[in-house]
């Protein structure tokens, strides 16, 4: 997913290390530091669970592929995650999401309401699985 935790942390470092012009001192600078603080708090959450969350999302998509009976996603349904770095899992997730978009388009075109509901329920799980909570470091 973008931005990733490494990108966010890099961004926070850059934001703190970049000197601000005189007119950006005061409220603006305080607001910026507050935002960096919030981003670092969210990064702590994300660092702790992003690998597990992406593995779970990938498995959930593959399970739907395996059960849906669509030949175009049968091969993806059998894959497993082997690169467990954040970047590697994100790349696998991107490939799965592209196939999920195409599958959903076919399902809608065919008027398959049952599978439409299953895919929409999957979307809810995907979104909730990536939820970030403000104020929780």
């Amino acid at each position: 997913m973008t931005p990733s935790v490494p990108e966010i942390i890099r961004g926070c470092t850059i934001a703190l290390a970049t000197p601000a012009p005189p007119e950006s001192a005061g409220d603006f600078a305080a607001g910026r530091v507050g935002l960096v603080s919030m981003l670092l708090g969210l990064s702590a959450q994300e660092a702790n669970r992003c690998v597990a969350a992406t593995i779970a999302e990938n498995a959930d998509i593959r399970a739907l592929f395996a059960a849906c009976g669509d030949a175009a996603v049968a091969e993806a349904a059998r894959e497993i995650d082997t690169d467990l770095t954040i970047a590697g899992l994100d790349a696998a997730n991107a490939a799965l999401r592209r196939q999920l978009i195409a599958l959903h388009e076919r399902v809608e075109a065919a008027g398959n309401h049952d599978l439409d509901r299953q895919i929409t329920a999957l979307y809810v799980r995907m979104a909730r699985g990536r939820r970030l909570e403000l104020g929780r470091g």
Partner: protein
């Protein structure tokens, strides 16, 4: 050593106003993510003037037309909507190198963060009356009588939805970095189930929401801010955006953290003289979430392209994008089950 921003601003104002002007207390203020926003005092022979400078940044959340923003402010200042007075529009940038405009500063009051729980406290109902009533008055205005009516394109009644949807779908096509199945499903649903034609063409603020106005902590709006996405279109567009769950301060029952949905619609209908068709409004509610996600996707791209330097772009492209995804997924689940 190059001149400071204050010195360049003073040089510009002295030239344009043909009198000596000095600039004091120049300070950038948070918010207004699409333009750099500064407060300052212009000291002229006639006395000090408290002003706001809105300057195009090198990169921003969204590409917007400052001329239309300026025309929108000019359209509502002194017309029953709390809008500042327009002062100068400088499209060429001149001494400030990037285009900008200047408007009057409205003193007092503050904007509440959209992510602050219960920001209006005991005055939430009064705030809702003013907030949705003001939006109704904006919707009621005839653009033909206003400066923005000359500056912005007027869509056909039956094309408002298509123009907005295709614009924001195009932003997603251009800026998406990681595949986004949830918002793409919402876009397909909106295309397949268009709303009825708009009941009139109105001025659409484009970002009318909790957090985008100054209030006095007693339920009174002092200024509607950030007109940068103003355009002409279906008046239900702003109402859908104002009620998006993203701007509800984590509440379920009260929209914008102020009043219940039915009450908000009633206030808006009384102020605008218009009606909210439930089917049409359902379309604009889902559209609001799609538009939001397009902005957050664009933020994530801008964050990366800008070398991760601006934390507001990182926050919008990450935390806000994920909340918006959850909101859209839940909307889709309800619609598919219906």
């Amino acid at each position: 050593m190059s001149a400071s921003l204050a010195e360049r601003l003073a040089a510009y104002l002295s030239r344009v106003w043909a009198e000596p002007v000095s600039v004091e207390q120049l300070a950038r203020i948070p918010g207004g993510a699409s333009r750099e926003t500064y407060r300052f005092v212009a000291v002229t022979p006639a006395g000090p003037r408290s002003l706001i400078l809105r300057r195009d940044p090198p990169g921003s959340l969204i590409e917007t037309d400052r001329g239309i923003e300026y025309a929108a402010i000019a359209s509502f200042h002194g017309r029953g909507v709390a809008a500042p007075a327009p002062v100068i529009l400088e499209e060429a940038g001149a001494e400030l190198e990037r285009p900008f405009f200047i408007m009057s500063r409205i003193e007092g009051g503050h904007a509440s963060s959209p992510f602050q729980p219960d920001p209006y406290g005991a005055h939430a109902a009064a705030m809702g009356e003013d907030f949705f009533g003001t939006l109704g008055r904006i919707a009621a205005a005839d653009p033909a009588d206003l400066p923005i009516g000359q500056a912005a394109e007027t869509p056909a009644l039956d094309q408002c939805w298509r123009r907005e949807l295709e614009y924001w779908a195009g932003v997603i096509d251009t800026d998406e970095q990681h595949p986004q199945p949830i918002v793409r499903a919402a876009i397909r649903r909106l295309r397949a189930n268009p709303p009825p034609p708009a009941q009139k063409i109105s001025v659409v603020h484009g970002d009318y929401r909790s957090g985008n106005f100054l209030h006095d902590d007693t339920g009174k709006m002092l200024a509607v801010l950030d007109w940068e996405m103003a355009h002409l279109g279906d008046p239900l567009e702003d109402l859908g955006w104002a009620m998006d769950p993203l701007w509800r301060h984590f509440e379920v029952e009260r929209v914008a953290g102020m009043v219940g949905k039915a009450e908000a619609i009633g206030i808006w209908e009384r102020a605008s003289g218009l009606k909210v068709d439930p089917a049409a409004f359902a379309w604009w509610e889902l559209f609001a979430s799609v538009k939001g996600q397009a902005i957050w996707i664009s933020s994530a791209k801008e964050y990366k392209d800008g070398g991760y330097a601006d934390p507001i772009l990182g926050f919008s492209g990450w935390y806000t994008a994920r909340r918006q995804d959850e909101i859209i997924a839940e909307q889709l689940e309800r619609l598919v089950a219906a």
